[in-house]
């Protein structure tokens, strides 16, 4: 049973890698394709609503989409005071995409892997070596891809708002100011180090927070799946209900922090 359980967990935590050897140039097919599919679901729903949007007598789906837009728009307007055409759509994309990726956690933990194993078996593969991880946000690649993209936006916004020179100057003169030129020169490397740590901390905290939550959630679902089937609901139901909050909250937090970081980037220190 113990080795069986370990194997079960291990199997569930193994990605569908494009190459058996792994390595940097291989990709996680499951993370990539599921997140891409979810991205298209998001775009498909929103674009179709946007295309058919009516000013009068909106349908239920349109009202739902509008309420999401309203939510994001309110938050962004409260936090980000500059003028930008990117921030609000970026925030909306993050919120919806992350939410959808997180929501994959709500599917029964064995459902998609079981289907995949059967398809794999039908195609002549060994079902024990068909791997599928259904929650893309429990993959550091997915969370870091987003948070590093956010860092690129932060740098871009900083340069756009302050100019390359202005941003460079800020990297060397903040947070410690000095009017004495010698002292300023001494403080420059310290400031730069601080700024770099700050810049690096943002994506790491963003992505690890999301990854940690989703990975833990997934792992607990896997552990619950190891219980005798009659007892699974006892822990499974509360955890799933609690997880509805977690997946929404994590998507919201990612969106909010991104907006905050971008508003910090355009404001002078």
């Amino acid at each position: 049973m113990a080795s069986n359980a370990t194997e079960y967990i291990k199997h569930h935590l193994t990605f569908w890698n494009s190459s058996h050897e792994g390595g940097f140039w291989s990709i996680h097919v499951d993370t990539f394709s599921i997140s891409l599919l979810l991205g298209f679901v998001f775009l498909g729903v929103f674009a179709s609503v946007a295309r058919n949007a009516k000013v009068e007598n909106p349908g239920r789906l349109q009202l739902f989409v509008e309420s999401l837009i309203e939510l994001v728009d309110t938050q962004v307007k409260e936090i980000f005071h500059g003028k930008s055409k990117v921030v609000a759509p970026l925030a909306l994309t993050i919120f919806c995409w992350v939410f959808l990726m997180n929501a994959m956690d709500m599917l029964p933990v064995d459902l998609l892997p079981w289907i995949a194993a059967n398809i794999g078996a039908a195609l002549g593969h060994d079902p024990h070596h068909v791997y599928l991880r259904v929650v893309p946000s429990a993959d550091v690649n997915a969370t870091f891809a987003m948070s590093l993209s956010v860092v690129l936006y932060i740098i871009g916004f900083s340069i756009k708002a302050k100019g390359l020179g202005g941003w460079g100057k800020e990297l060397l003169t903040a947070p410690f100011h000095a009017h004495n030129p010698v002292l300023a020169l001494l403080l420059a490397p310290i400031n730069f180090a601080f700024q770099m740590v700050e810049l690096a901390a943002k994506p790491i905290s963003l992505s690890l927070r999301l990854f940690g939550n989703m990975y833990a959630g997934e792992l607990i679902f896997i552990l619950i799946a190891l219980l005798p089937w009659g007892a699974q609901w006892l822990l499974g139901a509360p955890w799933a209900i609690f997880h509805i909050l977690v997946i929404t909250l994590q998507a919201f937090v990612f969106m909010m922090l991104t907006t905050v970081y971008l508003s910090l980037a355009v404001e002078a220190h």
Binding site: N17, G22, H28, F32, G39, V65, E66, V140
Partner: protein, 156 residues
């Protein structure tokens, strides 16, 4: 925790999603919502304006009504005054007409009386003359007393 090219793929997907949202999702939806907000605001403003217009119209109508009532009262009063005036005039006319008729009748009567008196006098004188003639026919020569008779006649 293993990093591989998935990260690049995810970043590209993310960039495409953001670009698409920025281009085709966010602007039309927010424009539509702004348009709706504007329409609602316009509608409320129009309703407010309509309410004010209605109030003004009601006020004007009340004023008009009051004015019309006042005018009607004035007209009725004037008519009543005129009516009593007409009655007075008619009374006056009737009175003077009556007086005139009475005076006329009186003068007619006087004339008639005068005429009757005259006729009577003539009758009496002619009767007297005739009487005298009859008395005197036997005694008085007509020619002789003609002068006397004429003077008697004139005396009448």
């Amino acid at each position: 925790m293993e990093f591989n090219a998935t990260l690049l793929g995810q970043a590209i997907t993310f960039a495409i999603l953001v670009w698409f949202t920025m281009k085709f999702v966010w602007p039309p939806l927010t424009n539509m919502m702004d348009e709706r907000a504007k329409r609602i605001a316009d509608g409320l403003a129009a309703a407010e304006r309509g309410k004010q217009d209605l109030e003004a119209a009601e006020k004007r109508a009340g004023d008009e009504l009051r004015k019309a009532k006042q005018q009607a009262t004035e007209i009725v009063m004037a008519a009543e005054k005129r009516a009593s005036q007409i009655v007075e005039e008619a009374k006056e006319t009737a009175r003077t007409e009556g007086a005139r008729l009475v005076a006329e009748a009186k003068s007619d009567i006087d004339q008639e009386v005068l005429r009757a008196k005259e006729t009577l006098r003539e009758h009496v004188s002619s009767l007297a003359v005739a009487g005298a003639e009859k008395i005197l026919r036997h005694e008085i020569d007509k020619a002789k007393h003609a002068e006397l008779l004429a003077s008697i006649k004139a005396e009448f």
